[in-house]
């Protein structure tokens, strides 16, 4: 299986060109600007290069199982820093399984995995899972605020679990996190209310604030807006766009249009395999694989 990653697109990037969202022209992100036209994406047996070394997460030859059922087949996919990578594909294609491998949540679900996953060059299997999951946070499809806690306590919970005792500092971080999650203005006067008193969209943003409070490096989102109304979905999408300034984001979505709107890179999975991985604009305008084109045009899936 070819190692597929955005190396070809990012090969000419220098460190200072990785600053996100310094678009100088409409329709182009800074991820696209230095890329040479016609440069192929994904090299067979990709050689370690300065570009690869810049990847936030490097995954190689991932095989994931539930019992004897193979859910992922030889997936190699690299996640660049401060970008949004969307994973799309039909139901059961392994999107969520792949996502959960990145912070070892796959094991919690009783799955097993082979292959290599590195976070900033460190194998994730060598990391304490608790520390890993603080660095690689996760937002789930169904918002899950802690039901017995207030809005404030929901956000502060992770801080306290990580040993934060300073009340003033805790309050600062709670406010910053709620602001970053675009929720502060809506809840600042009711922080003592239960997290469950919020609407669905607000609860999801509360969960994002909770994730942000522990200062992750990567945020994994598993269909974060699929249970939300269009207005709330738009708010979540705009939030994702603003967060990539500071975080690396991987989002699984069954909504192709959402992937097109929010992501810089898109990976198309099918029956446990990675079929194509490229700049989102390429995937949705000139996909290289017919299978990808058939999926995004609705001919199957």
């Amino acid at each position: 299986m070819q190692s597929v990653n955005p190396e070809g697109r990012l090969a000419t990037l220098k460190n200072d060109e990785m600053e996100p969202n310094n678009a100088s022209s409409p329709g182009m992100t800074s991820a696209e600007q230095p890329i040479q036209p016609g440069q192929p994406v994904g090299q067979p047996n990709a050689v370690q290069s300065p570009a690869l070394a810049m990847m936030k997460i490097v995954t190689k030859n991932i095989e994931a199982y539930f019992g004897r059922t193979r859910a992922l087949r030889n997936v190699s996919l690299d996640i660049p820093p401060n970008r949004v990578v969307a994973i799309i594909g039909p139901s059961g294609c392994g999107k969520s399984t792949y996502l959960r491998c990145l912070n070892r949540m796959h094991e919690v679900a009783g799955g097993t995995m082979t292959g290599s996953i590195q976070l900033d060059g460190e194998p994730v299997l060598d990391l304490d899972p608790v520390i890993l999951r603080r660095r690689v946070g996760m937002v789930f499809q169904k918002a899950n605020p802690f039901p017995t806690m207030s809005i404030y306590e929901n956000v502060a919970a992770g801080l306290r679990l990580n040993g934060m005792r300073n009340k003033r500092r805790t309050a600062e971080i709670v406010e910053q996190s709620l602001q970053r999650a675009a929720l502060w203005d809506e809840v600042k006067d009711s922080l003592g209310k239960s997290g469950m008193s919020l609407s669905g969209g607000q609860q999801q943003r509360l969960c994002i604030a909770r994730t942000l409070a522990v200062d992750p490096e990567v945020i994994l989102m598993d269909e974060p807006a699929s249970a939300l109304d269009p207005i709330s979905t738009a708010k979540i999408e705009e939030l994702i766009y603003s967060l990539k300034d500071s975080y690396t984001i991987v989002i699984v979505t069954h909504n192709m249009q959402q992937a097109a709107r929010v992501s810089d890179f898109t990976a198309f999975f099918y029956v446990g395999e990675l079929i194509e991985y490229d700049l989102t604009k390429n995937i949705f305008t000139t996909p290289a694989k017919k299978q990808t084109e058939d999926y995004i045009t609705g001919r199957f899936g």
């Binding site: 022209s25 409409p26 329709g27 738009a234 097109a260 709107r261 989102t280 604009k281 949705f284």
Partner: protein, 222 residues
């Protein structure tokens, strides 16, 4: 706070307005070069055409991205569809400015021209039409766009008059054949710019009111 998509749309509009300003300036300068027999100014217009072509491609690419990645609807979709056509029309106006500049260079090398016939008046009308079209786009003003239609017949008449007068001048040897042909060429190019300004106005009306007024037949009836 503006959404990402709205910022992208603003970027598209900004680039189109920039393109409009550049081609408007090109047409004005080309006519100035013709009247003043200014070869250097005319050459600058020829050199500047590459920038117009590059901008057209850049705008086209951003339109493809917006359509593919943002799924625009309603007024946003109309804006993007109109922008695609306006982009193409503006690039062609740039080409006509180049043609006029080429005639300016040719005529500057001939004996001094005593008359430019109706061309200065045509240029004034055309520049007004173009300015109204671009302003109509900036302000999404269908009323301003409609004013462009009012001048189209006058331009057509001036073009015909120019051709007739050139024939008379040729018959009386008051102008060389090369000079006469260039006068007709410039007149036709100005007439084409007027047509394109009219096209742009039709797109603005579509964008602002979702009305299709191609060839502004409906407006003429009114």
């Amino acid at each position: 706070m503006q959404r990402h998509f709205e910022r992208e749309l603003e970027g598209l509009k900004t680039n189109l307005i920039k393109m409009g300003s550049i081609v408007e300036e090109a047409v004005t300068s080309a006519m100035k070069a013709l009247i003043d027999r200014d070869i250097i100014l005319a050459q600058r217009i020829l050199d500047g055409d590459e920038r117009i072509n590059s901008l057209e491609i850049e705008i086209d690419n951003s339109i493809v991205d917006l359509l593919a990645l943002q799924q625009p609807v309603a007024v946003d979709l109309r804006l993007i569809l109109a922008a695609q056509k306006i982009n193409n029309d503006l690039e062609r106006i740039g080409d006509h400015a180049v043609n006029i500049a080429e005639s300016a260079i040719a005529m500057a090398r001939l004996d001094k021209q005593d008359t430019f016939l109706e061309l200065p008046q045509m240029a004034e009308f055309v520049e007004t039409m173009l300015r109204n079209a671009i302003d109509g786009f900036i302000h999404r003003d269908a009323t301003l766009a409609k004013k462009v239609f009012e001048m189209e017949d006058a331009i057509d008449e001036l073009n015909r008059t120019t051709s007739r007068k050139v024939v008379q001048l040729l018959n009386t040897n008051e102008v060389s054949i090369e000079g006469g042909l260039d006068l007709i060429r410039v007149s036709r190019n100005l007439e084409r710019v007027a047509d394109l300004a009219t096209n742009i106005s039709e797109e603005i009306i579509f964008m602002a009111r979702a009305e299709i007024v191609k060839h502004h037949a409906a407006e003429k009836k009114q």
